[in-house]
């Protein structure tokens, strides 16, 4: 337990030193109520950075949602995701027959914890955002009490792009936007488009 925590704060400290990460709270404040932080996804370090920019008491109650097919394959990854990050590992393969991901995520929210979710479903190698998967919508429907907070992660994809071994020490900024909730009668597509737009609104202007 002690070692897990120590490792967690060491990793956060390293991420902060490498990226000089700055959190901008634009329309929301750090708060202990159950939340779903949903963010753009470019790098494996994304959730570490969100974690690192939350105040420590909140960090311990905020769990990343991670792909089981990646994180449960080696014993080191298993140790990191289960013990250090306390991740919620979901099976994202179509036609799975394990536990229902929405229920797994819901359990954490029901216990008063928060989640970090990447609704693009995978790391995006291009610009902008991929279309959102429907998990965010199911979660919002099942847990109207949870606040949905968009988080735009700027630059981490450039610090350590997929396939590179050495990071470029660029400065990263995390913009936390205003909370979002589903409107009655709104279709799934409309909700996901609105969530995606809310996230894109936090991105700096394109060149």
């Amino acid at each position: 337990m002690f070692v897990d925590r120590l490792l967690a704060s060491a990793l956060c400290g390293f991420a902060r030193a490498l990226t000089g990460v700055r959190a901008l709270w634009l329309g929301s404040e750090p708060d202990a109520r159950p939340r779903v932080y949903f963010a753009n996804h470019r790098s494996h370090g994304d959730f570490v950075l969100i974690w690192a920019s939350l105040p420590p008491p909140l960090r311990r109650r905020t769990r990343p949602v991670a792909g089981a097919d990646y994180w449960l394959t080696t014993s080191l990854r298993r140790f990191l995701i289960n013990r250090v990050f306390r991740g919620v590992c979901i099976d994202r393969r179509p036609g799975r027959n394990g536990p229902n991901p929405v229920e797994q995520m819901g359990e954490a929210l029901g216990a008063g914890e928060s989640l970090i979710l990447f609704p693009e479903g995978t790391r995006n190698m291009g610009d902008g955002l991929l279309p959102f998967k429907s998990g965010l919508h199911h979660l919002a429907k099942a847990h109207p009490e949870a606040e949905l907070i968009p988080v735009w992660i700027e630059n981490l994809g450039r610090v350590m792009p997929k396939g590179s071994l050495i990071p470029v020490p660029l400065l990263c900024t995390l913009s936390f936007g205003p909370p979002l909730s589903p409107v009655d009668g709104e279709s799934r597509e409309a909700f996901l488009t609105r969530a995606r737009t809310a996230l894109l609104d936090l991105a700096p202007p394109a060149d």
Partner: protein, 314 residues
């Protein structure tokens, strides 16, 4: 005429002035703001506090010697390049070029100063980085905005590394009758240009009315510009005794580097405005990022270096 004696006098004077400014800042907070939060006064006090730290850091580097000064400016370059590239868009294909910039060209430039290799120092970035980095980017096989990306990386290296490295490079100049005193040239440059920034701010806040260019900088005024440049030109002339210059020469050189310094801040403001930000970063409280603090030095240091090298180096 002992260099360390002069350094102690100058730094003693600066710390004395800072103490006076700190007292004025505390007085303003107490009398005008009555201890309540006050945008301008709190920012002023944050700036003064940061000045204490910055002057102490420069003093410590000078006390350590040439290696201390070279290491300090290598770090400043590193932080500036970080801020610059963070705000400009590059793409995946530039990753290697960026690694080269941060981990090869930046350290090499400062290593060349330490080894007094002037020939390569003066062309490493304008020639070798200029040609090699686009080659590296082209191997990334991504043509989107290629020229723009190559230009941005090169520009960042020029402003943040090449230009700034001319400050410690002053230590390599052999000036007749000035041996062992080159540290004082650095003090002259930094003090004159930074005091110009400070006096532009002060004159602008006191009597500033007409904006130089509202599209580029909402805070730069004609009154601030003229008052600031003239006041710090007088500061430069008054510092002639730590330089190899006569008072008139010191004043003229101060005028040139102050004008360059002003336009350094102006040009970098134009870039910031285009990117939709106010500051390059948040490293120095009250000032913004590192590049916000040294933009004026970046534009004035190479010119100062060449003036001294052309007319004073035998």
């Amino acid at each position: 005429m002992n260099a360390s004696h002069d350094l102690i006098t100058v730094f003693g004077g600066i710390f004395g002035l800072l103490a006076v400014f700190s007292l004025i800042g505390a007085g303003l907070k107490y009398r005008v703001a009555r201890g309540q939060p006050h945008g301008v006064i709190d920012n002023l006090n944050a700036r003064i506090k940061a000045w204490w730290a910055m002057i102490a850091l420069i003093g410590a580097a000078i006390w350590i010697g040439p290696w201390g000064v070279i290491a300090l400016f290598a770090f400043i370059s590193f932080q500036c390049l970080r801020e610059f590239i963070s705000l400009t868009h590059t793409r995946l294909g530039d990753h290697r070029a960026l690694l080269w910039s941060f981990f090869v060209f930046l350290p090499a430039q400062y290593w060349l100063i330490a080894t007094h290799w002037y020939g390569l120092f003066s062309i490493l970035i304008p020639v070798y980085a200029f040609l090699l980095l686009p080659i590296s980017s082209s191997l990334g096989a991504d043509t989107t905005r290629f020229l723009e990306r190559a230009a941005k990386v090169q520009w960042g290296l020029m402003i943040c590394v090449y230009c700034l490295s001319h400050v410690p490079a002053l230590l390599t100049l052999d000036i007749a009758g000035y041996a062992g005193r080159n540290m004082l040239l650095i003090v002259f440059l930094i003090l004159t240009v930074q005091s110009s920034d400070v006096f532009q701010y002060v004159w602008g806040k006191l009597i500033g009315k007409r904006k130089v260019s509202p599209a580029i900088s909402p805070s730069k005024t004609v009154e601030g510009l003229v008052g600031g440049v003239l006041t710090s030109t007088a500061v430069g002339a008054a510092l002639w005794w730590i330089t190899p210059f006569t008072p008139l020469e010191a004043g003229l050189i101060a005028l040139v580097i102050n004008v360059m310094g002003f336009f350094g801040g102006f040009v970098l403001s134009a870039i910031k405005r285009d990117r939709g930000v106010k500051d390059w970063g948040a490293m120095i409280e009250g000032h913004g990022g590192m590049l916000d603090r040294v933009d004026s030095i970046s534009f004035s240091a190479p010119i100062f270096f060449h003036i001294v090298r052309y007319w004073w180096v035998a």
